[in-house]
Symmetry: C2
Subunit: 517 residues, 2 copies
């Protein structure tokens, strides 16, 4: 294999910077070996030599202790999911390949209960029974144990949304796994929308139409590993599929997220590219191919896909969308963008060392002039100095013009990276101003999530919440809840756990009105 890895190893990434992932990893990555070593500590209070190398703690804590008070208009549940390796990852595999562990803060009438469970899907059940890894390499089925042929490979570890009174745990290479919203019991290990899913895969980032509430989603590598087919589809909240179409991509790159506006679906193909040779040699699915351009693609939501336009651009990475909108003249898509490979564990196809500066992400507005029938270029504008890879918005504005964005990031105004506390930032795109919540010392912050004050509250009026990891308390976890319009005032409530919660990629808020009775 021609891949070369950064000296930061798997545990560094998981420990400090899932992290990176959560937009706050840069604080660890970029400040040098001392911080990397600190971040390298394993599970709570342990080092590899004295404690376990895995975490995997499924937990229940009832009547959680709260500092401050849960707002009376905050009722529902905050869900999180991330990879939590069921067994030690094999050499050469990457932290994205841990099994999905879902946690829930159930918030109601001022009370909070905490619960976490693994997604007990095909993969988890098979490995649990075998007592060992059966799917040893990230999205490389040729390496699977023969006993699991035909089973879904989903780790269900990336994102979590509610749909049809269920919780869907998502991994972009497979269909979702459906769980019970209250018990976190896995109900349907491999959920294919009552056989209406027109793809073998399902994105981790579906969008909710701001007008209809329909779910617009897609699957890439839709017909199998390495396939250039992207399947797009739209389901009503009741499960009716009201539209689907397919397109093909210029080359097969990671399509982790997408954007949806009132009229368009937008994809951004980056050179985290399918690597058949690497897979044939037993490696993972992707490598970073710095020789490839990006492609900004857009296609009408009501067509058959044949109208898709691909606009070539410079080599960049962008994996997450903050928000997007379009008018008659232009399409605007706000992403987190880096100059190169943002993941230290992802192989560089050219053998170069991973570059932490080029891998750092900033909120960036991409836009396209719809005037020309065949646009020749797209615009790239960095909007803010903040570094972070997990932008969020008020999700009621997924497909509509929006004003406010949120981001976990190191303090951009700190005198040095070393001193930069983890922050949640609120951006007002109208004024281009930010407001910051600066966390306490020795704290890491996971991706944040917005909960509106009510179904019809103005945009951005509500609460911003996210998991704080106390690195000086063996990575004990608190959920911090902030008034989204007054981040600088600090938490209105802090929900205290007695232990570390499992790692997180993405989180999701379900309001009380959508919880089971």
């Amino acid at each position: 294999m021609k891949e070369k890895r950064d000296t930061l190893n798997r545990r560094t990434f998981m420990g400090g910077t899932l992290g990176a992932a959560a937009g706050i990893g840069a604080a660890h990555w970029l400040t040098g070996p001392a911080e990397a070593a600190a971040a390298q500590q394993g599970p709570p209070g342990t080092s590899a030599s004295t404690g376990p190398g895995l975490y995997r703690l499924e937990a229940d804590v009832r009547h959680c202790e709260v500092r401050g008070a849960i707002p009376s208009d905050l009722n529902g549940a905050f869900y999180r999911v991330g990879p939590d390796p069921q067994f030690p990852l094999v050499d050469g595999n990457i932290p994205f390949d841990g099994e999905g562990h879902v946690s829930m803060f159930r918030i109601k009438d001022g009370r909070v209960d905490y619960k976490s469970r693994f997604v007990r899907n095909d993969r988890w059940l098979a490995q649990d029974a075998a007592g060992r890894i059966l799917f040893p390499m990230y999205r490389n089925p040729s390496m699977d144990d023969p006993s699991v042929a035909g089973l879904s490979r989903s780790t269900a570890n990336t994102h979590i949304i509610n749909y049809k009174n269920m919780l869907l745990a998502l991994k972009e290479d497979s269909p979702p796994s459906a769980m019970d919203l209250l018990t976190l019991e896995t109900l349907v290990p491999n959920y294919t929308f009552d056989d209406l899913l027109p793809s073998r895969t399902f994105t981790a980032h579906p969008k909710l139409d701001s007008e209809t509430g329909n779910m617009v989603a897609f699957g890439y590598e839709a017909t199998g590993h390495g396939s250039d087919v992207v399947s797009m589809f739209e389901f009503t909240p009741d499960g009716e599929r009201v539209w689907d179409a397919t397109i093909t991509v210029p080359y097969v790159g990671m399509l982790h997220d997408f954007a949806v506006t009132r009229r368009y679906i937008i994809f951004y193909v980056i050179p985290m590219a399918f690597d058949a040779e690497q897979m044939a040699n037993g490696g993972i699915h992707w490598s970073w191919d710095s020789t490839q351009p990006t492609y900004f693609g857009f296609v009408r939501r009501d067509g058959d896909g044949s109208d898709v336009r691909w606009i070539e651009g410079p080599t960049r990475s962008a994996t997450h969308v903050m928000g997007a909108f379009s008018d008659d003249d232009r399409i605007y898509v706000d992403v987190e963008m880096s100059m190169s490979n943002p993941f230290p564990f992802m192989p560089m196809r050219d053998g170069a060392a991973w570059n932490p500066v080029a891998g750092a992400s900033h909120i960036t507005r991409l836009s396209v002039d719809l005037g020309p029938s065949t646009p020749q270029s797209y615009s790239i504008e960095q909007m803010y100095p903040h570094q972070g890879a997990l932008p969020r918005q008020d999700d009621r504005y997924n497909t509509a013009p929006y004003r406010y964005g949120f981001l976990a990031c190191p303090d951009p105004y700190a005198e040095s990276r070393r001193e930069a506390r983890a922050c949640y930032a609120r951006f007002d795109h109208q004024t281009r101003q930010d407001t910051l919540y600066r966390s306490e010392e020795a704290t890491s912050l996971a991706e944040c999530c917005f909960a509106p004050r009510s179904a019809d509250a103005p945009e951005g009026s509500g609460y911003l919440m996210g998991l704080a990891t106390r690195n000086d308390q063996n990575r004990r976890s608190d959920l911090v809840i902030l008034d989204a319009e007054h981040l600088d005032e600090g938490p209105v409530a802090t929900v205290m756990l007695p232990m570390r919660a499992p790692g997180q990629v993405h989180g999701w808020w379900v309001p009380e009105s959508q919880m089971p009775g």
Copy 2:
């Protein structure tokens, strides 16, 4: 209330020395304020100012990581139970009043799974529903919330044994709570042996007859709080009650444990005495009455109780029995004995300060000459220098002459208490020699438990196990498993948990042959 409390508070005791309790607390108690402050740290990695004050983490960890290897002849389950307050204890209450939290290391074919659950008995369910404490004071029902009148007050937090294919969680002021051996689901919140229990209470320390396997047990304050009636009874493994009788005690003191020999049942009444006045003033059940003598009482196992003899002795405390036996001439009972009140949080009736030196326990042989028809005194012989309050034996020898005892204790040979590591000691009463397992630095050890190598293995041939708390890893827990005949060789296996396990008073081994199929 006339009680005066030691300056060591509730958390100190729970944190460092449940503990004291586990025989290793003395190491913390006796070395001065610095250690007390260190022990005072709350839940994992927290201080009262930054983290939760409670723990309560119900957990599952499958396929636990093991350093070393689980012996092939060690199959079954190790259960532990201890108080884990469901809500903050009210002022004046004591750590013994936390709700019972049971944990299990299920060991089979080299694999270990960990699980912990609260005992969901009447008390827990009522308080969980109310979201607050309803039984605010240790064994003082006059303080209870009116809503719980008539419910069992059991915390089920002291000991745990298997009986009739169930796990019984025991608290000496109430009947047991019965749980499922595998799921830890509470099956019968208030288990009265199919209405055959002839007492309103049931000891935390029943004995298994070494010849018949019958369970010999008792209840004190058998007819109600403050009652001087002790009910004694014997059940077959199938649940048939084959004997019962009652006696009365000279005064109502804590009868935490008892001894059973082939012919006799032995009680030891200590001046941790029922305090009606204190209770009337809203306080706990007990205070230490240094004006009272002890009474060594023995009664035939096959009689009606009328033959009981009480022998007065000096003021002492002894709460746990290591082993006991009798022949035609004498009764021998090996206890852990202290000169005075062993619990820093238990009120002193005379207002004296609690004395940590007089409260330290040593393994001590009590014996009585059966020659005289009315023995006038009992003998007291300290057997070893080791300090510890939770002695154990090979439980196949509960009622038979025995040779080996085990104890968690600080290293008795350390140059200073400060440097004394936590140890497990094996005593050979025949040679009066000890063998020590000295734990790693910054480690506390809970009570140990012996598992025989096989049902018919020689006495003491098997494994000694117990929970190690890593105080330098935010009190993360490991289960250490030692060859009981070679403690000095260190663990044959260490089962590593990613977090702290709940506190423990006592533990119990159930061999595979007694586990559900």
